[in-house]
Amino acid sequence: MAATASVTTVTGEHTGPPVIATAGLTKHYGTVHALTDLTVDVGAGVTGLVGANGAGKSTLIKILLGLLEPTAGHATVLGHDIDHGGQEIRRVVGYMPEHDCLPPDVSASDFVVHMARMSGLGASAARERSADVLRHVGLDEERYRPMGGYSTGMKQRAKLAQALAHDPQLVFLDEPTNGLDPAARTDMLRLVQRIGSDFGIAVLVTSHLLGELEQVSDHVIVLDGGHLLRSSATGDFLQRTGSLLVEVVGTETERDLLGEALARRGLTCRPRGAMVAIDPPPPELAAEGVAHDLIRDVAAELGLGLMRLQPDRRHLEDVFLEGGARA
């Protein structure tokens, strides 16, 4: 059935060797445990790295760039060991830091050309690539103006452009939506998604909002106080953790009919608008697809037309918050 298919076909599992692999990665700053025993794989496409302030996101990125030495553990990036392959990693990786890093008296155009050259591109290749990536990130005539006069949105675009200038195989984007208004945020997220899919560059993107990354990521890693809270394909994430939303043809009467029937079969239901919101299924119904089949069967038994059966995305935030509360 089409409605269920839309749930079950969402998968972000990766094939091929991991782009990033960490094993027992640990970083202590004195008494601050920024990362604790992190073992995780990152594949191609877009991977979201989510965590509250201080969760260790930026620390992880700096370790993977070879800028910070881990206290313990190992990691490889694109097959290079961070211990002695730092230079090789930095040759094929792009980095967009979370903080301001743009000199105010230089134009984005000049700056991106220079940064491309610092990554090893020749003068004319750097100019060509710079014009290309500035166009892709959406900086037009303003690219010739000093960056000191840029809005936050334009600065974020310039920062992104320098990260892409040398056509890396992987980019680390540290909070690219930081400080952006909702429209600019949507633009940036769409761009991030395009980098992963159309550009074919693997992306590790951080945010403290799970909701926004879940829209664009194939895979989500949640860090909590330096610990790995979970790492899963976005689809799994929704299925396993999320509650479900069901909508049937008809009015509130039909809605309640379905809700009551489902409640009798062991699911916790409550109305939400025209839909029935179903809490995460109890253990006996939690197995893959069981809840979906049950809902479909119940709807069929009642002769109700199933309009919609989808994960309740709002619930993702709750998972995240529960994790945060543990810290």
Binding site: V93, Y95, P97, M118, G120, L121
Partner: protein, 293 residues
């Protein structure tokens, strides 16, 4: 909800991959060196940033041009000032050039945090620091060498003894190279620590101009009191007195309050080298540290 077309968002052309050649570390370092050297003179930067370096350069060339005109027109049989002494007499201009331009190469990247973008690229922090120093040192050396070259051309034009002039000019150029290495190290280190341009400039002025003034005064007093060893010893503590002392010892035509000779010569060389080495270690440590933040 129909979205208004946002300016600047053009998605029609596809992304192109780059599979052309990529430079190795040495080539990237050379690119950084050349860019830094140009930036020290304001080249490739805003028009305003060219004013200071070229004004100072013009001021340090002007007396040399006057000397050249004078020698050529009057047929004088020697230059009225030696090459090395000329460098010392333009001390203030040279020091101001270093004080004003070192922050361009050593403060800006740290202050605006663009350093993280450099360090996330192939060049290691150590190489970055050394290349930056090399750019400033060569910029400094050119600043002092140009008047020397001008004087030398004038001397040739006036028909002065070619071999004498060549020897003296070459000695001056070598001494200037040492001076440039010293001054670039000192002002670079100061600028990489005090990121506010004003503080960096004041710090460099203190370390070069004020210190040099104090040292010269003490040297003069000591030699007037007949304490020559003290006079020469005090000369170890400032870049300018090190340069002048070595020029004096080498017979490059520069008088110091007391002659630098004997065991003082290796001492001067050693201190100069240690000072350069110490500054480089400091710079490398500084840039390695910022990479981790």
């Amino acid at each position: 909800m129909p979205e208004a077309p946002r300016s600047g968002v053009i998605h029609d052309l596809g992304y192109r991959r780059y599979d052309g050649p990529r430079d190795g570390t040495a080539t990237i370092a050379r690119t950084l060196f050349v860019t830094g050297l140009r930036h020290a003179y304001g080249l490739g930067r805003s028009g305003r940033s060219k004013v200071m370096p070229f004004l100072l350069l013009g001021m340090s060339l002007l007396p040399a041009a006057v000397v050249v005109g004078f020698v050529v027109l009057t047929g004088l049989r020697s230059l009225p000032v030696s090459y090395a002494a000329y460098t010392n007499q333009t001390q203030l201009l040279v020091s101001l050039f270093a004080a004003s331009q070192a922050p361009v190469l050593f403060s800006r990247d740290l202050r605006h945090r663009s350093i993280v973008l450099y360090l996330a690229r192939p060049l290691p922090a150590t190489v970055f620091a050394l290349v930056r120093w090399a750019s400033l040192a060569v910029a400094m050396w050119l600043f002092t060498a140009l008047p020397t070259v001008l004087l030398y051309l004038g001397a040739m034009l006036a028909g002065l003894d070619k071999s004498d002039q060549t020897t003296d000019a070459l000695k001056a150029l070598v001494l200037q190279a040492g001076l440039a290495a010293l001054i670039a190290g000192v002002t670079g280190l100061i600028s990489s620590v005090s990121l506010r341009r004003g503080f960096a400039v004041v710090g460099s002025v203190m370390a070069l101009i004020v210190l040099s003034g104090v040292v010269t005064a003490v040297q003069n007093i000591a030699s007037a009191e007949g304490e020559d060893p003290a006079s020469v010893g005090v000369g170890l503590v400032s870049p300018w007195s090190l340069h002048n002392g070595l020029a004096n010892a080498w017979g490059a035509g520069l008088d110091t309050p007391a002659p630098v000779d004997g065991a003082w010569v290796p001492a001067y060389v050693l201190v100069a080298l240690l000072l350069i080495g110490g500054c480089l270690l400091g710079l490398v440590a500084r840039f390695r540290k910022v990479g981790t933040r």
